[in-house]
């Protein structure tokens, strides 16, 4: 799967150190030490963006650890690219640019 080059560049500019990989036919962007919304614990965590559909969600953002937030969320664990990740059940709308997707998923932690 290819993504518009300007979207990938924008993602990389906003989230320095972004890396790309794929597994089982799905593409992923690794966002090292992603800064989380203020007051969350931890403050930064590695995150993995899955921009295309997975498990019935149009896109997903996985975190390397469970993030404490004021609103209790239902966290689930998955294993992707030989690493354990966690995600909340959070649906964002389709048609977003890659960077917008990340922002929209982070709203789940606000």
């Amino acid at each position: 799967m290819t993504f518009p080059e300007e979207e990938v560049r924008e993602l990389s500019r906003l989230f320095p150190g972004t890396q790309q990989s794929d597994e089982g036919g799905a593409d992923y962007f690794l966002l090292p030490q992603l800064l989380l919304p203020a007051g969350r614990s931890p403050e930064r965590v590695d995150a993995l963006l899955c921009p295309k559909g997975r498990d019935g969600y149009p896109s997903r953002l996985f975190f390397a650890e469970i993030v404490a937030s004021p609103v209790a969320r239902n966290w689930n664990g998955v294993r992707i690219l030989e690493r354990n990740w966690y995600a909340v059940s959070w649906r964002v709308r389709e048609g977003l640019r890659l960077a917008q997707m990340v922002r929209a998923h982070l709203d789940a932690l606000r």
Binding site: D22, D55, G56, N76, L81
Partner: protein, 473 residues
């Protein structure tokens, strides 16, 4: 045998030497193994034999360095150079292209050639003198990845591997050709020097296994050297480990985080009422069952999810998945594809519909690298995974009974036995068996009739080993 073109010869090479046995497992998908054989068997306009290069990825495991065959590169006819006294001489162009590939891909390279006979091939004095010089060049390009030399025969293989940053090569403790049938080659056990010792051991072991000698002359040796991972030690997994221990398997990696409760006693082989009182771990029960049959077995049990101990799973040659959810099956298959492990999945379910008899169904599926995966076979699909995700993976508490567990577990063992020994002489075909517990039948799944390919479009054969990421500039 290869006669090298002009390259710098390091001072420590240029002599034949005997490498040490090493903790390296080399895995090659059977389709790739056969592709190399086909290429190397082709006559060349003037060279007596052909050579090729195999790109390899690495994997980390608890026990050994995993060296995983990823991609074969043939050498064009015009890159051979006429030479007297050498089976094959390749020009600098082919070597430069290979060096460039090492730089570009970050993957190790093995020099490959073939001896046209059966059995474990041995490197000739010329091979062991000349090929290390070539490998030295590969190591100069990148020392942090393994390189080596691979020798094929018509049915076996041998190799020397230079592990990262090691100066001397080692012979892998296993070379597996992963496919149907699966070959598990242990060059150190099968080499000429050890044949007599092995023969004595086989004779000693004979009484226990005298009723299963139809599996093949070397079957017991293969069984002993096959490392099995079992994920999930409930109803299905408990049957699997018990049977494997009886057959003579000696190496187990077990994964289950659960303790026995009263509701398990209707089906969990080896569990007792006392275990319920003591809240015994399922891994402890499996170990107890195995060790009561095979006291000396190498059993490593993890009372946790396999995802917390991935290195132990990767070291297995065959994994049996007895898990509840589709998501877990996907994760296991991904890991097995990545590390070139044969994966056998079993599962059952009972659906109760108002006004009808409950429907009992199940499956046994064999997933092998470079062949159809669960998605190709239609066992997994996005809708099924989405439906399960909507329930947050809740799969516990569903009806389970012992007899379908036994049928499916036994069938999984049967699939493994044929896979590693080839005793049944079955044609190569996908294995997706469908169980109907109401009719008491286990037959090839109807979907197989409508699949017109055995290739996998989801897992690319070159994507093996520890994951790699591309930095975005």
């Amino acid at each position: 045998m290869i006669d090298l073109g002009p390259i710098d010869e390091p001072a420590d090479f240029g002599r034949p030497f005997a490498p040490l046995w090493g903790r390296v497992r080399l895995r090659i998908p059977r389709p790739l193994f056969e592709l190399m054989q086909a290429d190397l068997s082709r006559p060349h306009p003037f060279a007596a034999e052909r050579v090729g290069f195999l790109s390899v990825a690495t994997g980390t495991s608890d026990d050994d360095l995993l060296v995983l065959a990823a991609e074969y590169h043939t050498i064009p006819d015009e890159h051979y150079v006429e030479s007297r006294g050498a089976g094959a001489r390749i020009g600098s162009q082919a070597i430069r292209a290979t060096m460039q590939r090492i730089y570009d891909s970050g993957r190790g390279v093995f020099h490959v050639h073939m001896h046209e006979h059966h059995g474990i091939p041995g490197f000739s004095p010329t091979d062991s003198r000349e090929q290390p010089r070539l490998v030295a060049s590969f190591r100069a390009a990148n020392k942090s990845i393994p390189h080596g030399m691979l020798l094929l025969s018509r049915d076996q293989a041998n190799a020397w591997v230079w592990a990262p940053r090691e100066v001397e090569p080692v012979v892998p403790n296993s070379i597996s050709i992963v496919g149907y049938p699966m070959s598990l080659i242990a060059p150190q056990d099968d080499g000429f020097v050890n044949r007599l010792r092995t023969k004595v051991r086989e004779t000693e072991a004979l009484p226990r296994y005298v009723r299963q000698t139809f599996l093949g002359r070397d079957a017991q040796k293969i069984i002993e050297r096959t490392r099995i991972g079992v994920v999930g030690l409930g109803g299905g997994g408990s049957h699997v480990v018990q049977q494997l221990a009886h057959i003579g398997f000696k190496q187990f990696r077990l994964f289950d985080g659960d303790k026995v409760d009263d509701s398990n006693l209707n089906r969990l082989v080896g569990a007792t009422a006392a275990d319920v009182e003591l809240k015994t771990l399922k891994t402890d029960i499996a170990q107890r069952v195995i060790r009561s049959i095979a006291p000396g077995a190498d059993v490593r049990a993890f009372s946790d999810r396999w995802q917390s101990n991935p290195g132990a799973l990767r070291s297995a040659d065959v994994v049996v998945g007895c898990v509840d959810s589709f998501a877990e099956r996907r994760e296991l298959e991904v890991a097995c594809r990545r590390y070139l492990i044969a994966y056998v999945d079993i599962g059952m379910d009972i659906n109760e519909v108002q006004g009808e008899a409950p429907r009992m169904g199940g499956q046994v599926i064999l997933s092998l690298p470079d062949t159809m995966c669960f998605f190709c076979m239609g066992f997994l699909n996005d809708a099924r995974l989405a439906k399960e995700a909507a329930l947050y993976g809740a799969a516990g508490g569903r009806p389970q009974v012992i007899w379908p567990n036994g049928i499916l577990g036994s069938t999984a063992v049967g699939v493994i036995m044929d896979l590693i020994t080839g005793w049944a002489g079955q044609p190569r075909r996908p294995i997706y068996l469908s169980y109907d517990g109401n009719a008491n039948t286990l037959v090839p799944h109807v979907r197989l009739k409508y699949l017109d390919t055995t290739a996998c479009e989801h897992y690319v054969g070159t994507r093996v080993g520890d994951p790699t990421f591309r930095h975005i500039e």
